[in-house]
Symmetry: none
């Protein structure tokens, strides 16, 4: 479902910083601390994107870049280079190498995350397509963060919205409480099953007459009508 990102840097602190932030944004991550391992991991895991430091032991970042560019299986994987000095950049980017973007250290985390997001969206590999979701009289607009029933707006809290969006994104599919907890709530929320029930109740209350688009599947979970 979510994108896998390979983080390559020999500095463990930087890897931790990056993976922490990426995971918080819902990405999966793998790590390498030198270029040779990076190449192996790319071939075995096919990440959706690579964050690549230039200065690496054994095989350096530029070489990794060049190597990946030669292989048809890997040449379309977007690479964001991490570089220590601004003037290194001038020699690197856009040239014979396959780097698609770069960020100069010390980088701003928010900027980096935005670039990652933008890159994945551009490649159309992200789940970032936001069509309107419809189910009977209910219509959910992810961009505007709005829900309407028969074109009449309904007020939902952020959590209710996410919950409904999850259900409507999987019409006809049963979603177990565990699945909902892990997808709607934070990645490591020590949740209590019944919390889901409570929110389903609140969501149904807000949906009023349209509450029946959410079906209870006894013993399993909940389902949005398909």
């Amino acid at each position: 479902m979510s994108d896998l990102i390979l983080v390559v840097d020999d500095d463990e602190d930087i890897r931790n910083l990056l993976t922490f932030n990426l995971q918080r944004e819902g990405y999966q991550t793998i790590e390498a601390d030198d270029g040779a391992i990076a190449l192996e991991l790319v071939r075995s895991h096919h990440p959706s994107l690579i964050l690549l430091d230039i200065m690496l032991p054994r095989v350096d970042g530029l070489a990794v870049c060049r190597e990946l560019g030669k292989d048809r299986n890997t040449d379309s994987i977007p690479i964001i280079m991490l570089t220590a000095r601004g003037d290194e950049v001038d020699r690197i980017v856009g040239f014979e190498l396959g780097a698609d973007d770069y960020v100069v250290k010390p980088f701003n985390t928010r900027e980096l995350l935005l670039r990652v997001k933008a890159m994945l969206r551009r490649r159309g590999q992200s789940e970032n397509e936001d069509p309107l979701l419809r189910c009977h009289s209910v219509c959910l607009d992810p961009q505007a963060h709005k829900v309407t029933i028969n074109d009449k707006p309904v007020e939902l809290t952020a959590l209710q919205f996410c919950l409904l969006k999850d259900l409507m994104s999987n019409p006809g599919c049963v979603r177990s409480r565990e699945e909902l907890l892990s997808s709607v709530w934070d990645y490591q929320f020590e949740g209590y099953d019944r919390t889901v029930d409570t929110h389903i109740k609140r969501l149904r209350a807000r949906l009023g007459d349209a509450a029946d688009i959410i079906e209870t599947v006894r013993g399993i979970g909940y389902r949005c009508k398909g």
Copy 2:
């Protein structure tokens, strides 16, 4: 929609570097590797800005500058000169030439981009044909940098204007604080979420009765009525 920038340099690597960065910032680019071609392209494409190296084959940068300055169709196009040595600058800045700014090689990419941005903003030629943005009683004119409510002018600071423009450019869409920070503030600004709140407050205060076109989406961000 976006500005077209002509990049003139005989060094292909530098052209690549510049076009890469400009495109990343959303500009369109065309390239020339000598002065004669540059002049042709200016006349055929009417770019919004020119990045011009001084040392060029055939017709050099200074001559291009002078040439463009003579023609009423081209004399208002801003030119940023790229120059290798500091002492060349003295001749440029004398300004019998039409150069509006200059950057010394090896230049810092971010600095150059900022100058480009600033120049286009100053000339008000940015975002060719910006339509008026309207939302209920509020009308925002990006070119004139003016906002009116029921045709009565409202004083906004630059930041408030940018913020409102961002919101009104995405009517009905929720903009998260992160998105606003990265789009309204500088990319590198290590912002603090609540700063956005403060500016929203100030913006609403200026908007008076029309403040309700900016909706708070709790837990998500802000949205301009669609």
